[in-house]
Amino acid sequence: MTAVKEERPIGFGSLKRKEDQRFVRGKGTYVDDVKLPGMLHGAILRSPFAHARIVSIDTSAAEAHPKVRAVITGKTLESMNLAWMPTLSLDTQAVLATDKVRFQGQEVAFVVAEDHYSARDALELIDVEYEPLPAVVDPRRALDPDAPVIRDDLEGKTDNHIFDWEAGDKEATDAVFAKADVVVTQDMLYPRVHPAPLETCGAVAHFDKVDGKLTLWSTTQAPHAHRTLYAMVAGLPEHKIRVIAPDIGGGFGNKVGIYPGYVLAIVGSIVTGKPVKWMEDRSENLMSTSFARDYHMRGEIAATRDGKILALRVNVLGDHGAFNAQAQPAKYPAGFFHVFTGSYDLEAAHCKVTGVYTNKAPGGVAYACSFRVTEAVYLVERMVDCLADELNMDPAELRMKNLLRPEQFPYQAKTGWVYDSGDYPTCLRKAMDIAGYEELRKEQAERRARGELMGIGISFFTEAVGAGPRKHMDILGLGMADGCELRVHPTGKAVLRLSVQTQGQGHETTFAQIVAEELGIPPEDIDVIHGDTDQTPFGLGTYGSRSMPVSGAAAAVVSRKVRDKARLIASAMLEVSPEDLEWEKGRWFVKGDPEKGKTIQEIALAAHGDLELPEGVEGHLEAQTVYNPPNLTYPYGAYICVVDVDPGTGHVKVRRFIAVDDCGTRINPMIIEGQVHGGLADGVGMALMEFIGFDEEGNCLGGSFMDYLLPTALECPSWELGYTVTPSPHHPLGAKGVGESATVGSPAAVVNAVMDAIGVRHVDMPLTPSRVWTAMKYGSVEPPQ
């Protein structure tokens, strides 16, 4: 399916991106491009041990380095009450280790020097004496009575348990399981991976002692939330903190939380009185910033003999690393994992999630997971395939039989979610038609007869994006509503100010399109401002595919406010009652007399001029709003993957990948397709090659691009896309989020395809040649370490 080739739509359509003008010329401004007069450079000394007591830190040689301006340790920070900081999960995280180190790569000291190279040199001059402790690596052993206690900093903490959390009805679920004809149980690991944005995390902090103002350029997906947290943590007044997220080289959830490096850049600037830049390198990014997944799941699915799915029961052990810094709405310690009932109409469902500490980097929620929906979708879509295998049923037929029907929406899932809209069977049928599903099965049978291993995998997913209603969802007490401001200048050009923060998703283009659609102002006449907390309204930022559901709705609402005001002004200009006016895109005109009207540009000029305005109209043409979503949006999709597996080596080649997405109203099809392409590459990467492992001493084994493998152009096929349109009934534009759908939906399709090819019920990701080969030879393979 190709995009509508509409070059310059005034409104929705495949508008070419405004952002590209600077990026193709090398004129973007990313954090590391920021250069300020007198700027110094920081570097972090990191722990070589996963678990060790710090006996002493000798910084004297580093301080004697001629280009070093400051060496900061945990002791320095303790005196400022900054040695620990709160996390988004209401835990604490060490900024610099004071008592002991809890994961390899943890921050131990910070050097500020005149240049980057000298800062790195000085790290070598710091002498830290460690007393190694046994490391907790396997989360399944973390709760053993003799397991070393990682968080002995927490008062009264005598084990590595973080939380237990449940959703659904346990009794009802057990009752359905008791009466079911068929129960299939499967353990599966969603392994630890990393979002690995191509640009790592970094910041430039400038604390101006004269006016007491801190300006912080940083790689943040949520600049306003960061500002408020810095105010709370550092005790700086919030109006004296300006956070600027400039161009960001990809975020993928990696850049939601606050990292010690940001705090250290700020402290470095306060201590030296100069701007301080900190930019981590790739291995630091992979070893110490937010990982994703690491869910050990036991799924159970109950069904009748003829394939009616009745219930799901899930037990999860979540490995959260040494500090619980998982980013999610505060009331949801396992994110939105409880959408695991997926796209099916069940009688009952229940899940229990237990979180534990291990000697690893913190994180969990990242990498386009929509708050653990990746894990939820992987679980249910693997379980459905396990059931199909057990029943010897075609997985497409099994899904078609159990998918929710269009007339069931809005649908109340058994774990509490209210899905807004969907036409699932049409979507699956469309994907099967594009794939030529029946032909593919015939081809597979022929190839099998020749001893070739071809697999076809299906995944049908329901996403939950657009957090969220402020009554239920907040980040550290900050409700998840988003502001938006629109100002139309006298000459009819406009500025739209957003609280969300693009990291490549094309907001500067698509948000201009929303205003263009609503007001008829051409998108090139609309400047979209984001990322600067001094200039933009408060909001929670971009992650969880929430920009379109929340901020996109705000942009529509604020445009409509301006349109309503324009109507009053137009009525004064035309000397008619506002009720006598009718809107066509870009213009109010007199009902029954279409010649007589005023364009939005004419109205804007009059709004700033000498026109006598109606009672109560202040003049100028602008508005602001705060949008509090009534519900999430629930986009969905049907994905089909075709793989060929080399019987001799276990190497998997993704031959075809068909993705049909439904995200309701499509603002810019070209950009949606690009989002889907990127997410599908994530899925192929996670399923086949990406993995952060640890040895038994807690050494990180995926800490560079030599070991942490990302797909290149050679591992990715040409994606085949399609779409259906089922608008969200509660969204002002009918639009749903979509950015994470492909990352959420695709890994199960790849794994299902490989299992279909090799005839093994389950193999944990990553499906590297050696793991696939071992599974083919022995029928199973251990989870990766």
Partner: protein
Amino acid sequence: MEKRQIKVTVNGEPRLVDVEPRLLLVHLLREGLGLTGTHIGCDTTSCGACTVLFDGQPVKSCTMLAVQTDGHEVTTVEGLAKASELDPVQEGFKEEHALQCGFCTSGMMMSAKALLMENPNPTEEDVRWALSGNLCRCTGYQNIVKAVLWAAKKMQSEAAV
């Protein structure tokens, strides 16, 4: 550390600069010369975000010392466009939506440029091979492949005129 003077032509302009022998080319370009279009995405020569042309050949500038460019020519993304006119590769990337965050784009376009100078009529497979030293996290590569083929076609039609 003692500095050495080198003479390097960057984007057609001869430059005399003093550099430490250990200075990486990517840092000379970004910090020394202010050409920040060339990016750093890794520390193991894997990602190609720092790709520039060295005497017309694509190199990863994070894995070359600045002193090695003494007497040579370097072209960065800033040198791709002629006057205000974009190179067909840049145009192709815009036309085919081959970039999102823009971080890999410079290096990706320099590899593409090198490919098209050597092979003006590449197949899809040729393009995927030529770009396999450049990682992209946003696009899933497909539109990048389309962009390079778009540029090849454009260059051929221009050459034919």
